[in-house]
Subunit: 428 residues, 2 copies
Amino acid sequence: MSSTDLAQLSASGIARRIAAGETSAVAVTEACLARIEAREGAVRAWAFIDPDLALAQAHACDNETPRGLLHGVPLGVKDIVDTHDMPTEMGSPIYAGRRPSADAACIAQVRAAGAVILGKTVTTEFAGSFPGPTANPHDLTRSPGGSSSGSAAAVADGMVPAAFGTQTGSSILRPSAYCGVIGYKPTFGTYNIAGVKAASQSLDTLGLHVRDLDDVPLLTSVLVNRPFEPLAAPPTGPRIGVCRTPLWDLAQAETQRAVEDAAARLAQAGAAVRDVTLPEHFARLEEVRILINCYERSRHMLNEWRDHRDALSDRFRTVMQAGLDAPYDDYVAAMRLTEACRQQSDGLFDDLDVLLAPCVDGEAPVGLEDGGNPRFAGFWTAIRLPAVSLPTHTGPSGMPVGIQLVGRYRDDDRLLQAAKWVLETLDA
Amino acid sequence: MSSTDLAQLSASGIARRIAAGETSAVAVTEACLARIEAREGAVRAWAFIDPDLALAQAHACDNETPRGLLHGVPLGVKDIVDTHDMPTEMGSPIYAGRRPSADAACIAQVRAAGAVILGKTVTTEFAGSFPGPTANPHDLTRSPGGSSSGSAAAVADGMVPAAFGTQTGSSILRPSAYCGVIGYKPTFGTYNIAGVKAASQSLDTLGLHVRDLDDVPLLTSVLVNRPFEPLAAPPTGPRIGVCRTPLWDLAQAETQRAVEDAAARLAQAGAAVRDVTLPEHFARLEEVRILINCYERSRHMLNEWRDHRDALSDRFRTVMQAGLDAPYDDYVAAMRLTEACRQQSDGLFDDLDVLLAPCVDGEAPVGLEDGGNPRFAGFWTAIRLPAVSLPTHTGPSGMPVGIQLVGRYRDDDRLLQAAKWVLETLDA
C-alpha cells in the first residue's frame, strides 16, 4: 500500500494488516508522520510531535511479539492527558514544557496493548473555550470546534486513525461533527480518567475520535478489559426516537435539515422512528450543566487561579469567577436535577434503542476564535448518557454537519450497534 | 492558655480565639508541634513534618489581615493529598521524596482561608490495606485502623485539631472509631477531590477527622463555598432507624452492644427510634463494592504496576490482579446494583432523619498489621451516602468503639444536626 493509503486506514485495519504481516508498525507510523509533515503547517493539530520518539515505539513493536489488540496502531492524545515521555501542556502557557512523571491510566492501557503514542494533540486552554491554533481541515478559515480540536482535526485529516478526546460539555462530539469524523462519548465513567486534567469531575468523560466506527469496540475492549467483538449492525432497523430537545429553535437550518432528513430516510429504510418529547424540567439541563461546570472547574483550578491568574485567558477567568461566586445550594440543586433527569431518561429507552438529536448548531464557525456552542451535546453530557456524532450530512458551504445518537445509560453496546446501522443505511 | 490546652482546642475554638486576639497562630502551631515532639516517637502519625515550614505559615498568618474562616488553624493532611511545598509519598517507596508541583484543590481552599498545613499524615500504601508505622494512641500495641491512619491518630492524640482523610471503603470512619475521634465522610463528590491520588473513582470521598463536630460545618463552608452557620442540634429528638445491616452477625459483641445501647438511650431521651430492614439485594453491596474497588484501582495504578511492581506489597498486588482479572460485565453489573440501591435508599429517609448502624467490627485489632475490616462503613460508601462515626462507646479493653450514623444522599446537614443531638444526648 502507498503511504497515503496507509494513513487512511482505520485503527482496526492497521491492527489487522500488521497482525497478518502485510505491513509494519514502522510503515504505518511513517505514513502518519508523512501526512503530518505535509499538512501540519496548515492544520496545526499537534501540540507535540517527535518523529523519532514515535518511530522508536514503532520499531519496538516490530521487533517484539505482539503485545495486544493495538499492536503498532498509532494514536493521538489530547494534551490534557498525561504522558510520561511527552510534555502535557494543557493548552496553557502555565504548563509550557511540563513533563508528567506518569502515564494517564488510558495511556498505560493502550501502550500495554501495543499502541504507538504518535503525539499530543492541541486542546483549547484547559479544555475550556479559549482556542488553540488548530484549523478545520475541510476549510482552514473555519474552527475545528473545541475543546478536543487537535484530536478531531488530526483524525479528519488522515494524520492518525484515532485519538483520545474528553467531553465535559460537547468537546468530543462537536469537533468531530465540525471536522467530519465520528465522536464517541461513552457513558460517564466507562474509560478510566486518572491522569487527565480535571475540568468538572461530575461531567468529564474520556472518549474517542475515529474515522471508522469499528475502532470503538476495538479500543473499548482494551480500555475496559473485555474480549473484542466486532461491531454488528442489528438485522432489522432499530427503534429511534427523534428528540429535537428544547434547544431545537437554536439550531441552524442545516442541523435541523440533517436531523429531519436522517429521520425520514431511516424510517424509509425500516427503522421504527417516532418523535419523543422530554419532560418539561429537562429544559433546564443546559443551564444547570453550565453551573456545575463552572462550580467544579473553579475548584479544580484553584492553584492556577492563585499562582498564575494573569496567564489565564479572559474567557477562562470569567468561568472561574462564575464558579467561585456560585452558591453551594445552587450547585446541589443542579446536581439533583441532573440525577433526577438521568434516572427518568431510562424510561425513554423502554421501547427505543436510541435517540436521534441535533449535535451542533450548524456548520463550523468561520474564524478560529469561535469554537461553536456546546449546548446540543452538553445537554446529554449533563445526564451522563452515551452519545456518538456521525458525519452524515453537509451544510450550505459543503462543511460537515453531524447528527447525534444518544443511548441509554450504560447501554453503549446498543447505541453503537444502532449507529452502525444508521451509518450503513445513510451510506455515510 | 498552656501549650497543652491549646493543643486540645478544636479548629473552631482556635479560629475563634485567634480572631479575638486571645492567642496567635504561632502559639497554636507551637503547641501542636510540642505535642508531636513529645509523642511522635510512639504514635508515628506523620509522614512529613517540618516545624520551620509550619511555623513560617503561622508567622505569615499572624502578620497579615485574617484571610478567612481558618485563619491560623493547623490542619493535618493525609499523604495521598498533593501539597506543593511538602512531599506526597502515598505510603509507598515508589514515591519517596516526590514533590507535587501543585496543591490539591482542598489544600488550596483551606490555605486561601488561612489554614496552616502542619504536615502530612501517614497513609497505608496508596490508601489500601498495607499498613504504615502508625500506632493507636490509646494503646500503642493496637492498630489505628486504615487507611487514614495518621490523620485519625494525630487528631486523637492532640497533635492537630483536624485532618483530611479519604474514604473508598471505610478509611475515614474506621480509624476514627478505633482512635476515638469523629470521622465525617460527606456525600460522594461534596469536597473536590482533584489532586488526591485516586484509588477508586466511583467511591473515593474526601472527608475529615475532628475531635469536635462543630469543626465540620466550619471546614465545609470553606470547602464548598457557603456561609458558615454553627451546627445546632434539633430541638426535639430525631427520627432514627436502627439498621443492623446484613453484616450484623459479623460484628463483635462490643459493636453490637454499642448500637443497641445507643438505640435504647436515644429512644429514652426522646428520639423516635425504630428498626429498619433493608431490601434483600442490599446484602450484596459489600461484595460489589470490593469488585468496583479492585476494578477501578487496577486502572488507576497501571503505571505503578508496569514500572514498579516489585515495590508494591503482596497485599496490593493481590488487589491489582483481582481488578485486572475482573470482567467488565461484572463491573457494570456491580455499578448498576449500587446505583439502584442508592436510589432506593432515598425512600428509607422519607420518615427518618438518620440511620444508626454498626461502624467497625469491634475494638481496634492488636498489632499493627491488621487494620480491621472495612465492611461496616464500606457498605454505605458503596451507595455514596454521607456518614459519621461518633466515639460514643468503649469495648472490653477500654478501647474506643464508634457508632455510625448514615444520612440521606445529599442531606449532610440533617445528618450532622442529628449527630450533634446524639452526641449531646449520649454525653460523648
